[in-house]
């Protein structure tokens, strides 16, 4: 019998609900974005985020379930990582619905859902593979051997990739969110205009550091203004992007090769970036690696990936009780405490 899973995702600035059949059959995926609310602030404001989730989550769930006569068979909800106030909205609604509908509840790690989102388009995932999850808050390379077997291979030591994009974009006056803004402007700029540092390229591990690059952009602009020789913003943005993405692409391919993994999977909001998609595709092809690039709507935060992973976790025996809590600092691959799973 088919299992219809309602996924609920409120970890950051998207309130999202989705209905997925048997982990891969996408029925609905509704996302209410708060990007407009946040644009004035140059980032996500948690209080606004939590309040907006409260207002939008019920209509979003209603829309995701519209046209479906019966209640879902399972509810999957993101428990972390994310903003605590936002996460609480999602799990509160999930618990209420699970109790009133008398259906099981399963907890999902937001980062693991990003790593597995591609299953919604490929219908089956062949393990193992290397996942690259890049977003506003995270930059992680992970070896995925199964739904319960994921290991961090490398991660950022300071700023996340999306955070670097946001901060540099703001500094250059290109606005928020920084990812799409820099991607757009960079298309008109020269990526070799400014030789920004390729941090950690030879660090001998698969970790990243983006804070120094952000500072290099700021110091370069300060000096350029002082000397009255400021290059075109598109050139600076494009050069920043090249420095950031070159390291990500090289380390992703190297990590897959070193671990003997034949497949790379992208996820997270920055996986929408057109240059990252193109460069990684080229590098994977050169090295004989298969590459899965989910559609942009499955890269940015969405509940379909939560419903999907929730289904596979349920199949693996996971259940959560109504005492389920949130884990704002949850790491990829970490066990969600057993005490929370009934």
């Amino acid at each position: 019998m088919a299992v219809q899973v309602l996924g609920i995702e409120t970890s950051c600035d998207e309130s999202s609900a989705s209905l997925v059949r048997d982990g891969t059959g996408l029925i609905s995926n509704v996302v209410a974005s708060q990007v407009d609310l946040h644009r004035d602030y140059g980032g996500v404001v948690p209080e606004i985020a939590a309040r907006a989730h409260v207002e939008s989550i019920i209509p979003v769930i209603s829309e995701a379930l519209a046209g479906v006569g019966e209640r879902p068979d399972l509810i999957a909800v993101t428990v972390g990582p994310g903003l605590v106030g936002s996460l609480v909205v999602g799990i509160s609604v999930a618990k209420g619905l699970a109790w009133s509908w008398d259906v099981p509840l399963v907890a999902v790690n937001h980062l693991e859902a990003h790593a597995m989102a591609t299953v919604l388009e490929s219908n089956a995932l062949e393990y193992p593979f290397l996942a690259l999850v890049v977003s506003g808050g995270h930059t992680v390379l992970a070896e995925v051997r199964g739904v319960d077997d994921m290991e961090i291979v490398g991660e950022t030591l300071d700023d996340a990739l999306g955070e670097a994009y946001d901060k540099v974009s703001m500094y250059l006056g290109l606005g928020y969110p920084g990812g799409p803004a820099i991607d757009r402007v960079s298309a008109e700029g020269r990526s070799d205009a400014v030789p920004f540092p390729r941090a950690m390229m030879k660090s001998g591990d698969f970790n990243f550091s983006l804070s120094g690059l952000k500072t290099a952009v700021i110091r370069f602009m300060q000096k350029a203004k002082r000397e009255g020789d400021v290059p075109a913003t598109a050139d600076v943005a494009s050069s920043f992007q090249a420095a950031a993405l070159e390291v990500v692409v090289v380390k992703t391919v190297d990590a897959a090769l070193e671990r003997g993994l034949r497949k790379v999977v992208m996820g997270g909001g920055v996986a929408c970036n057109s240059v990252l998609r193109r460069w990684l595709a080229e590098a994977c092809e050169e090295n004989g690696l298969a590459l899965a690039q989910p559609s942009p709507s499955l890269c940015t935060d969405n509940a379909a990936m939560v419903a999907s992973l929730g289904y596979f976790r349920y199949k693996a025996g996971h259940r959560s009780g109504l005492e389920l809590d949130v884990y704002p600092n949850l790491r990829l691959g970490a066990t969600i405490p057993r005490g929370q799973e009934g």
Binding site: V45, P46, E47, L83, V84, H138, E163, S211, T215, R219
Partner: protein, 152 residues
């Protein structure tokens, strides 16, 4: 009081000296533009507490905690008022047996205790140079300022 750092390593070591001297209830307010080294300073504080792992930027999740060493690392970059910081539950750390370091503290000053050490970081002329202005108020803050005063 002012200190000068001429490298990231030096900023880490200043943070380490500070971290070694901190006791529960101590609060460090970090101020300064993007790229001046606020997170680097907190990395040093964590090292001074004996924490050897990575200390990533909390800009996205606002609060990172390191329970092994009772360190709370907060970041108000995305916040615009003290109330918003309070909504994240920071009081639990400010009132408990934690040491608390807050980046962009000037944006949320009213949510933080008056008794604190404030470190303002600014760019120097050379690429890696940073100027640190250090000011302690209250019992905890003045004690920590005294510790930093001995660095010179």
């Amino acid at each position: 009081m002012e200190l000068v750092s001429d490298s990231i390593d030096k900023t880490v070591s200043l943070g380490t000296i500070l971290g070694r001297s901190m006791t529960p209830g101590d609060v460090v307010c970090l101020e300064g533009e993007l790229g001046t080294g606020k997170t680097v300073m907190v990395l040093g504080i964590a090292r001074g507490r004996g924490y050897a792992g990575a200390v990533p930027s909390p800009t996205f999740t606002i609060i990172h905690t390191y329970p092994e060493v009772c360190l709370c690392h907060a970041d108000a970059f995305r916040l615009s008022s003290a109330d918003e910081l309070l909504e994240t539950g920071i009081e639990e750390y400010l009132e408990g047996d934690w040491i608390v370091a807050v980046e962009w503290a000037d944006r949320v000053r009213d949510a933080l205790p008056g008794d604190a050490l404030t470190v303002r970081l600014a760019f120097g002329r050379e690429d890696n140079k940073r100027l640190l202005t250090i000011e302690g108020t209250g019992e905890h803050g003045r004690r920590l300022a005294g510790v930093m005063g001995e660095v010179r």
